[in-house]
Symmetry: C2
Subunit: 346 residues, 2 copies
DNA sequence: GCATTTTTGAGGGACGTACCTCATGCTTGC
DNA sequence: GCAAGCATGAGGTACGTCCCTCAAAAATGC
């Protein structure tokens, strides 16, 4: 009726509890024959270790440090909410989380913070940061201290990070591209691309994926050069105004980064709001609102709740030197339009 | 450093462990003043109950019975895989699952199986079944026995089920409609609709959502009457052949149910494979393959892994008479195209 | 066959919580 | 101010696992 326990195994295998324990935890000093006998009993009874009890007994606690840029962006804020919720849920698994913020533009500051981390008391580090030499070295140093490091949202492929949790930027650019092409009816047209900065790996890869699809599948559509806004709404407004003056026949706009509200403002100036196809990234309260009001047509996003939970799970597995279930940790590239907008989280 | 325990609360609140326990578990015999003092201490220390330890101590075991039709469809098979994986994961939380199959067309048989359930040893029941009077009564009987009942995949809105885990069929029909309309370029065109049976609530609601969007947003597109295949590939082939003969200018096909391979076969006869826009539901190995090969343009689906986990979580919560975190249990309507196809699971 | 090493058994304390009993202190009302 | 009742404290056992120690048994080498 109830699940078998270690005692049941001992009885079934005709050995003592101590021996079962030795086998279960791969402790030395057991003959192969006995190991087999115990494993047989385990299989026969269908025993599964009570992980909760095991963790309890181990008294293991996990402390994860998460590093995020101190930008005020809605995306980061949404991510923080997701992380905090994930941490609350992970408390059951004895996982604690501490959030650190670093100056978005100052990788030396980040490196300093990482270096100052008390490696002893920590089980793992997750960070969202652009890949610069300084960051690379800092990650290397953490790994040398034996700390697992996970890159989130933005990958650090040329470092020794243990894992990346997030979606493939280029694939999400391709997804955006297909939608743009098909929404424009496959006909001719001009598409404007707006980025925060084309120095960010994210932006570059998204754009690359987007261009790849446009060239291959929709050669009739002309994709204009990226505008860079540096996160300044004013810069965005000015640049878009200028471009619309030169190319008033723009039928689509691809937003690589943020700036949805500023864009809506300019478009309404030109009477284009809702008349050009706008596709962007990351579901936040702003983009949600834009979808609802018909100012945007699609958003390519990832589920930040999953991302947060996955990051903590992966760090935990790495801390225990356990294998990762890749299939569970793969984030999906989600397509959101008005009709499948998930209800607001509150 | 480590998490506070009940003992810490006792010390902090200046009461005994027994009193803290009484407060935590809402046992009687504690003055309001003391309750407050304890709760204050809990808040001050940021105490969170160690659920794992609590369950251990409670010695509570959950046994959930899941009922699925015995159809050989890939969808059901995929769902079974997801459920088994979810059950494996839930073993940590002392949740066990037993799978039951019933003859897909025989609701009396299902009712009999449900009635024969040993309510004592069970913590909850989940089922995927069409809503018929017999099923309604069976659900009512289960509830009368005190068993939580959750409808999965297909809702049973007019029963006393405790919860529904799955996506809104009408909303997913709307999503399919928008994609169809936009992929067809918003121009004129004819769309064929193919269903297993238009008696299924699922099909009716999907079609209703689809029509709603088409009429409102794409009045230039004509949506033909639904073809019914009753799950027979031969019937599908014949019906589609006939309709294509009458209306060779079909530009889009909306598949409410299964039959992707049979459809591909007919389309290739007519040289239309990859030339008409095909949109369907549920990501299975077949639809995945159809997306990859360009025979389908989009699939509206739900994440069965989430569905399975959610069903078990909800049953568990209901069994404990605990509230449900609606936001966590809401499934998203996912849009899958070739570019954002998640990697195959196995 | 004896000493040595390896394998096994027996037992216990710990983790954090639930739940039980019994005793004692503290409030009440009268 | 005294009995009755209520509120609290003290202490114990249990859940399933980990991890430790010590002793006893079995296998091994020579």
């Amino acid at each position: 009726m109830t699940r078998p326990t270690v005692n049941d195994i001992a009885r079934e295998a005709g050995v003592s509890l101590a021996t079962v324990d030795r086998v279960l935890n791969a402790r030395p000093g057991v003959r192969d024959k006995t190991i087999h006998a115990v494993n047989d009993a385990i299989r026969r009874l269908g025993y599964v270790r009570d992980v909760a009890a095991a963790n309890l007994a181990r008294g293991r606690d996990y402390r994860m440090a998460i590093f995020l840029p101190d930008t005020e962006s809605q995306f980061v804020q949404t991510l923080i909410d997701a992380l905090q919720e994930a941490a609350a849920g992970a408390a059951t698994a004895r996982v604690g989380m501490e959030l650190h913020r670093f100056p978005a533009e100052d990788m030396h500051a980040l490196a300093a913070q990482l270096a100052a981390l008390p490696a002893r008391d920590l089980s793992g580090v997750a960070l969202m940061a652009p890949e610069t030499p300084v960051v690379r070295d800092a990650v290397k140093a953490l790994r040398a201290k034996g700390l697992p490091v996970v890159a989130i949202v933005s990958d650090l492929p040329n470092t020794e990070r243990d894992h990346y949790v997030g979606i493939d930027a280029q694939a999400s650019g391709r997804t955006a591209g297909v939608l743009m092409g098909r929404f424009l009816g496959g006909a001719r047209g001009r598409v404007m691309v707006i980025a925060n900065s084309m120095h960010l790996r994210e932006s570059i890869e998204r754009r690359r994926g987007f261009d790849e699809v446009m060239q291959r599948n929709f050669p009739g559509i002309e994709v204009l050069q990226s505008l860079e806004t540096h996160g300044q709404p004013a810069t965005l407004r000015q640049a878009v105004r200028q471009m619309l003056a030169h190319a008033p026949d723009v039928t689509g706009i691809y937003l690589l980064g943020s700036g949805h509200r500023a864009l809506a403002a300019v478009l309404s100036e030109f009477g284009l709001l809702g008349r050009v196809t706008v596709i962007g990234h990351e579901l936040t309260p702003h983009t949600r609102q834009a979808l609802e009001s018909g100012h945007m047509d699609a958003v390519i996003t990832q589920n930040l709740g999953h991302l947060a939970r996955s990051a903590l799970r992966v760090l935990r597995a790495k801390a225990d030197r356990q294998p990762i279930d890749e299939s569970q940790e793969t984030l999906r590239i989600e397509i959101v339009i008005r009709e499948n907008l998930p209800p607001a989280t509150a």
